[in-house]
């Protein structure tokens, strides 16, 4: 399908303001169900901006998540190389469902509840260090980054004595000053570490994700040790940067509205609703959900042909006035989990129960231990991740 794309609006579009989608999204939503845009490699894709249409794309079997298919929309070249037989994010049915069902018992609300004491200890430890070092402090580096990394250690069953090693590698991989070579070597070391850990646990199954996969599916010959190491890496890649950025953006959404912050701190019943609003408004995974039509489909009355690329925009959906009145308002009393920050459909976030628990424990603990927390910079001066796939902030200066 050769076509000239130079006249199309270029994509991705940077946000003008951290808590609002790019203003182009509202224009596209008004001008038609779908908008044809030009990707960085010059190819065309359909941008989807209406809430109902984004849900439709994410739940139809006619749109594939398999990025190895020719024509799949790629936003940047530096895609993290995970082995394809472990990477659920980019698998279609029936393989996706088969592996996902192996992992899902470890991520249910009940299972996550059993992890709460350990998560609390991790949050307390990170806060102890932040409070000792300041004020001021960088909340992103001292709380947001270490907490999800250590929770993943817990989930995977990384021995306590290896936590520092694991964490220094995972944080290094997310640091923008890390060169491509350093990144590749960190990824390689981590993979070797995880594979060695899987092999070691094989003789002695433990009560963690790796142990359970070894005990069940591996014993039944359904997965290999390499695949389990791959799943471990997938959980890290999917659960670290996302959760870290959401902790920082969530904190910032409280610190920029002190009256709402105080109201939630004084009435913790508002917290679950506030967390859903942090997820909805900041919409950090706007660019994560990419698809390729594998058959002719209809999206919001607009035909999409097999082989055409689709970019369903989470931030556009979360800010669609047809779905949310006054969508830019952070309003904990909305009490709705209907936002698409965890995606939708078969690929919706496996770790969403865990992410919600981490966020809840982080904010409860911040409220109790640092009630006077405030931003120690002008919000307009903060270094936002304008060109990242996951939106966020590089640094969050705070004082108390």
């Amino acid at each position: 399908m050769p076509e000239t794309t130079t006249d199309l609006p270029s994509f991705p579009v940077p946000r003008e303001r951290p808590f609002e989608p790019p203003s182009a999204y509202a224009q596209w939503r008004e001008s038609g169900p779908l908008t044809k845009v030009r990707l960085p490699n010059g190819s065309a894709a359909w941008a989807v901006t209406r809430y109902a249409d984004v849900r439709e794309v994410l739940s139809t079997a006619g749109a594939s998540a398999d990025k190895m298919r020719p024509g799949f929309p790629h936003l940047r070249s530096g895609v993290i190389a995970l082995s394809t037989d472990s990477n659920l994010e980019f698998m279609d049915e029936p393989d996706h469902g088969k592996y996902r069902r192996m992992l899902s018992p470890m991520f249910t609300a009940r299972r996550v509840d059993t992890m709460r004491p350990a998560i609390q200890q991790i949050v307390d430890g990170a806060l102890d260090r932040m409070l000792e070092s300041g004020p001021p402090a960088d909340l992103h580096g001292s709380l947001s980054l270490p907490v999800p990394s250590l929770v993943i250690c817990q989930l995977l069953g990384v021995p306590y004595t290896d936590h520092d090693f694991f964490q220094s590698l995972t944080v290094r991989m997310l640091d923008t000053t890390t060169t491509r070579d350093e990144f590749a070597s960190s990824l390689q070391r981590l993979h070797e570490y995880l594979l060695a850990m899987v092999k070691e646990k094989a003789g002695n199954p433990t009560d963690d994700v790796v142990g359970m996969l070894l005990d069940g599916p591996a014993r039944a010959g359904e997965v290999t040790h390499e695949q389990i190491a791959g799943f471990a890496m997938l959980l890290l890649v999917a659960g670290h940067e996302t959760t870290a950025n959401q902790i920082s953006m969530g904190t910032l959404s409280l610190l920029r509205e002190p009256a709402k912050h105080e109201a939630i701190r004084r009435n913790l019943e508002l917290l679950p609703g506030a967390i859903e609003e942090m997820l909805r408004v900041s919409a950090i995974t706007d660019l994560v959900m990419l698809r390729l039509a594998t058959e002719d489909i209809d999206i919001g009355g607009c035909p999409v042909k097999a082989g055409e690329a689709i970019v369903p925009l989470g931030a556009a959906a979360n800010h669609d006035p047809q779905a949310y009145s006054d969508p830019g308002e952070f309003e904990p009393s909305r009490g709705s989990r209907s936002h698409l920050t965890f995606g939708f459909g078969m690929h919706s976030c496996l770790g969403q129960n865990l992410a919600r628990a981490e966020l809840e424990i982080v904010f409860r603990t911040l409220f109790a231990r640092v009630p006077t927390l405030r931003l120690d910079a002008d919000i307009d001066d903060l270094p936002f991740k304008k060109d990242g796939v996951v939106f966020g902030v590089h640094e969050l200066p705070v004082a108390w």
Partner: protein
């Protein structure tokens, strides 16, 4: 009485329903969604089940109300 029906093809056992209506849904260690009732939903759990049906990311749940 209202009844809840699970589409076993669509369900990926994520357990969002379980987090919203723990008295009705449970994902087992084998990764299967189990109904803790025979499908009948009493008034006490109806609101929670409505939330679970609406919140299911794979639209695998249907509530039949008569």
């Amino acid at each position: 009485m209202a009844k809840v029906i699970v589409d076993r093809v669509k369900c990926v056992s994520l357990g969002v329903c379980e987090s919203l209506a723990p008295a009705i849904f449970e994902v087992t260690d084998a990764g299967e969604l189990e109904l803790l009732t025979d499908g009948d939903i009493d008034d006490e759990n109806l609101e929670a089940v409505r939330a679970a049906v609406a919140g299911c990311p794979t639209e695998a749940l249907t509530l039949v109300e008569d």
